[in-house]
């Protein structure tokens, strides 16, 4: 994949800042059924899914760093988790290249669950007070459900934002391979 690194870098930086601002200034303040959506793991997973594991991991690191600085949290916690999410989503794309329309939803829900559990675990390991019991389960399930509901729109927005910096959209490329490239690989063999 020939990436336009400069354009992609700027776009990812912009997405990073906008995500944090939007999350902190708006999304975190809207509660539905006692929980609020968390754009951060969704965006990290979407970026990984679109641009691959390495950019996904770097983006996750930057996003986590900015989040920790903006919220005056323990620096490094969010980075560790979001690196894993961005890298994991990117590896999924590189190894499986799933094309189903529901993939962003499943990846988003998994990323959210991983982020929630990861934050809980790291906070616990750092010796800070963590919630336990049904409230935690409800918080986890509610956030995962809410994030699953918005995962596809978030993915589409991120993809739309990065599209110009990518060489070709994967789906368009595949379709073109069969329609304009002459014979399909099967007939060639």
């Amino acid at each position: 994949m020939n990436l336009n690194y400069r354009s992609l870098g700027w776009r990812l930086a912009l997405i990073c800042v906008v995500t944090i601002v939007f999350q902190v200034a708006a999304v975190s303040q809207v509660q539905i059924l006692g929980v609020n959506a968390d754009l951060v793991p969704l965006v990290a997973a979407s970026v990984g899914l679109i641009v691959g594991s390495l950019p996904g991991a770097i983006f996750g690191f930057a996003l986590g760093m900015l989040l920790d600085f903006a919220l005056v949290e323990t620096v490094g916690v969010a980075s560790l988790i979001l690196i894993a999410i961005g890298y994991g989503a990117g590896r999924l794309r590189e190894l499986r290249d799933p094309q189903g329309a529901i993939v962003p939803l499943l990846v988003g829900a998994t990323a959210t669950a991983a982020a929630q559990l990861g934050f809980w675990l790291l906070t616990f390991l750092l010796g800070q007070t963590v919630p336990l019991g049904w409230a935690l389960v409800w918080e986890l399930l509610g956030t995962v459900a809410l994030n699953a509901a918005i995962a596809i729109p978030v993915y589409l927005i991120v993809r739309r934002s990065l599209l110009a910096a990518l060489p070709e959209d994967p789906r368009r490329r595949r379709r073109r391979a069969y329609t304009t490239g002459g014979l399909s690989p099967l007939s060639k063999s």
């Binding site: 809207v30 600085f69 890298y87 750092l126």
Partner: protein, 289 residues
């Protein structure tokens, strides 16, 4: 080439993770005035105005989504409150029911104690049926001959005389109320001692009258009328009603001081709302005073 790409990817990933852990360790280890904390405060001070501006700009969107969230929450809260309200209503109904029954039982107890009716072997019963006619002249109770109730036993509630038992089965009985024209109760005015017969007139169940009052008695509205008990000394002519059971109050007198004077009564017992009653199953001294 491929190996180099993999190596570079792994190296970068390891570097990012290591750097994160390093930051975490440094941040955790340093004091509030440490370098990383100062950088964080600097970033925060830059970021805060952006957040504030974004917060203002995004307020309408936040309010809109907040409205959806609030609506969903409110709907959940509404159903929760409705459930709670139903439970409280049921408890309130049960409590007021218990209060009402308690008040009636207390009235009966007071009447038994004050009128010396405890010796008349009262059997407490619950009204389980009522005549569907507008006259409300009979009620069915849930005690019968198995409890010692017999035809002709007087029936009272906490306010006074209700009627008498007219039909008895093993576990139920029918009580004819004093509003029935067939029933005649020997009665006496508490103040003055005028004696007569309390009976419903032709006007219907609310037309309770005190009949056969001698002309020499002048009755005033408000005077209490009670059962007279057995007046005759002739054996076999005992009254069915013990003396002193409240029947009602005089409401008005037409043609007072004449042989044709009509004395109207208002029953103390609310005959249309009977729930708990007592049947007096034994007579004391032939119901004499």
């Amino acid at each position: 080439m491929y190996d180099r790409t993999i190596r570079r990817r792994r190296l970068t990933l390891a570097a990012l993770l290591a750097f994160s852990l390093l930051l975490l360790t440094v941040y955790f280890g340093e004091s509030n005035g440490g370098a990383l904390h100062n950088v964080q405060r600097g970033v925060f001070s830059v970021f805060a105005p952006i957040q504030e501006g974004a917060s203002t700009v995004l307020k309408p969107a936040r309010d809109l989504f907040g409205w959806f969230g609030d609506t969903i929450n409110a709907k959940g809260r509404l159903s929760e409150l409705e459930r709670s309200n139903q439970q409280l209503r049921a408890r309130s109904i049960a409590a007021s029911d218990a209060l009402r029954i308690n008040s009636q039982l207390q009235g009966l107890l007071n009447l038994d104690n004050a009128g010396g009716l405890a010796a008349a072997k009262p059997v407490t019963a619950r009204v389980i049926g009522q005549s569907p006619t507008v006259w409300y002249s009979t009620v069915t109770i849930n005690q019968g001959s198995d409890s010692g109730i017999r035809t002709g036993n007087p029936v009272i509630n906490g306010d006074g005389l209700v009627g008498q038992v007219s039909t008895v089965t093993g576990n139920a009985a029918i009580v004819t109320l004093i509003s029935d024209g067939e029933l005649a109760v020997p009665a006496r005015v508490s103040a003055g001692g005028a004696e007569g017969i309390a009976q419903t007139g032709a006007g219907g169940p609310n037309d309770l009258r005190l009949k056969f009052i001698a002309r020499r008695f002048r009755l005033d509205p408000g005077a209490s009328v009670v059962t007279a008990g057995t007046v005759s000394t002739t054996p076999g002519l005992e009254s069915l009603y013990p003396p002193g059971i409240p029947i009602g109050a005089v409401t008005r007198v037409v043609d007072p001081g004449t042989d044709a004077q009509k004395v109207y009564l208002r029953s103390y017992a609310d005959l249309q709302r009977l729930e708990i009653i007592q049947v007096l199953t034994a007579s004391i001294n032939g119901n004499r005073r």
